[in-house]
Amino acid sequence: MRAETLLIRLGKAVAVAAILFWSLFPIVFIVTSSLKPGQDIFAVPPQWTFQPTLQHYVTLWTQWGVFFRGLWNSAVVTVGATLLAVIASTCAGYVFSRHAARWLELSIVGLIAVRLIPPIVVTLPLFPIVNRLGLSDTHLVLIILYATFFVSMGTVLMRTFIDQIPRDLDEAAAIDGASRLTILRRVIVPLAAPGILAVAVFVVVFAWNEFLFAFIFTGTNAKTAPLVISEMIGSIDGVDWGVLFAASTVQLAPVLAFVILMNRYLVAGLTAGATKG
């Protein structure tokens, strides 16, 4: 490898700094601002040294109980949707990986075609139906919707991951008398764990952050955290920025930690999902 000139190194350093600033500045800014006392949020130029305070979090806790209910709802919906999507995708991905038939080929084309339909399109017919079934404003409706919009990608992804597991393993288990379900549980699931985690990352991030479905299908009982934050933004009394930043930080922290922790699976999933699906 040729020695890099000083100029090229400098250029790279500037580019890296710009990338870091672009990606992280808004996040760092919102988190630090949530800890700034009252007027310091609006100080010009922005203050980077300040006496950190939890006052906005206290206000959030005392005046925005609805936000914490929203967090709970988000957690329930996220866990439910992730379980449903992961289980359904793993089962279907296993079939698509291990069995070949004309109708299966057709149905995988169908799976991919389904992804072309925008979520907002299905809200039109589902809105009256959900209302009539009394499912409006429940966790269940969001769990089903969120899971559904990831099972097609999840299935394709799981097939890609399961394809990499040698067939000899399930054949050996079958000779030992294991049923299909046992093979799936004892052989496939442990070995396809990276794929399962990749699917889980996608669904968790989507379900925790989703706005449109929550906006249309929930009102009071099942209202999720993003919806409460959107109400803070749109508040007619003027935005209380400190509380908004505190709420944003609380909503963002767990999912950001999750993405950082799972970054390997996220990258693997994005790569496999994009090239194969």
């Binding site: 449903l84 279907a92 399109v121």
Partner: protein, 284 residues
């Protein structure tokens, strides 16, 4: 056929939530219907009404502009970043995680950030631009500036996705190709145009296709940032659709809008992909 129970959950979910409702949307788009009324067949009149509605045309135009500008800018930046990452920089793993971070941010929180950063009275970016004597984004009342904000926000949120796909494609390329090109006397530029770009072509196509289709359904960013205003000037198709259905209760025209939206995104994506594919083939 013993596999049917394993396939059932996925097929059932898709059938009930996506496929049957989509068929119903097609049916609805040929009928006039609003809450509590019996639907009545009207032929193509919903489509004609939507297509002749100035608000729809402006929404469609905004969507196309935002999609075309945002997706291409994003692609250029992501391509540059993928090559930079590949050229050997320190702390690559940590930097990769930093670049991924916006992927975790919800649309709602991203809008909160950007509304504050670009607030006309107190936004730090606005104030910084003013001190530097640069023009300020008057996004809350200038539709063009609002569109710029939407484009910036979209790129910020989706850059991780495009970057990861391109970077993975670049990593998968064998390095001996470059050695061979060097030995044959190729310059850096020639290496880029003749080796890197054609080999990354398929990944670029896939990323573009995904981003086209997903950018076309953009709703939350616009809804939360401008609400489509001022005076419906920044509406995109999904916001127009939402207004028709849930503000004006016109489910027939909303359904026609939905199908036009799917059709337009397919046409845009497929025409584009077809062109690019031909170019990639010619370059080889």
């Amino acid at each position: 056929m013993g596999v049917v129970p394993l396939l059932a959950p996925v097929q059932l979910l898709l059938l009930v939530v996506v496929i049957l409702p989509s068929i119903y949307v097609v049916w609805l788009s040929f009928h006039v219907s609003s809450f509590g009324q019996a639907p009545e067949f009207t032929g193509w009149s919903n489509y004609l009404r939507v297509l002749s509605d100035p608000a729809f045309r402006s929404a469609m135009w905004n969507t196309v502009v935002i999609v075309v500008v945002a997706v291409h800018l994003e692609m250029l930046v992501a391509l540059g970043m993928a090559l930079l990452f590949n050229s050997g920089i320190p702390f690559r793993r940590i930097l990769l995680v930093a670049v991924l971070a916006p992927y975790a941010v919800s649309e709602v929180v991203a809008v909160a950030m950007w509304r504050f950063l670009f607030d006309l009275d107190i936004g730090p970016i606005t104030l910084m631009m003013q001190t530097l004597g640069l023009p300020v984004l008057e996004w809350s009342y200038d539709p063009v500036h609002a569109t710029v904000m939407i484009v910036l926000l979209t790129i910020w949120m989706h850059l991780p996705f495009t970057f990861v796909i391109l970077y993975a494609a670049r990593l998968a390329m064998p390095s001996d190709l470059y050695e061979a090109a060097r030995i044959d006397g190729a310059s850096r530029m020639q290496c880029f145009w003749r080796v890197t770009l054609p080999l990354m072509g398929p990944a670029i196509l896939v990323a573009l296709l995904f981003r086209y289709i997903f950018a076309f359904r953009m709703f939350s960013e616009v809804w939360l940032l401008t609400g489509g205003g001022p005076a419906r000037s920044t509406e995109v198709v999904a916001v127009y659709l939402y207004q028709e259905a849930f503000s004006y209760n016109a489910f027939g025209t909303a359904s026609a809008t939905a199908l036009l939206m799917v059709a337009a995104s397919l046409v845009l994506a497929s025409g584009y992909i077809w062109l690019l594919r031909r170019q990639v083939k010619n370059a080889r």
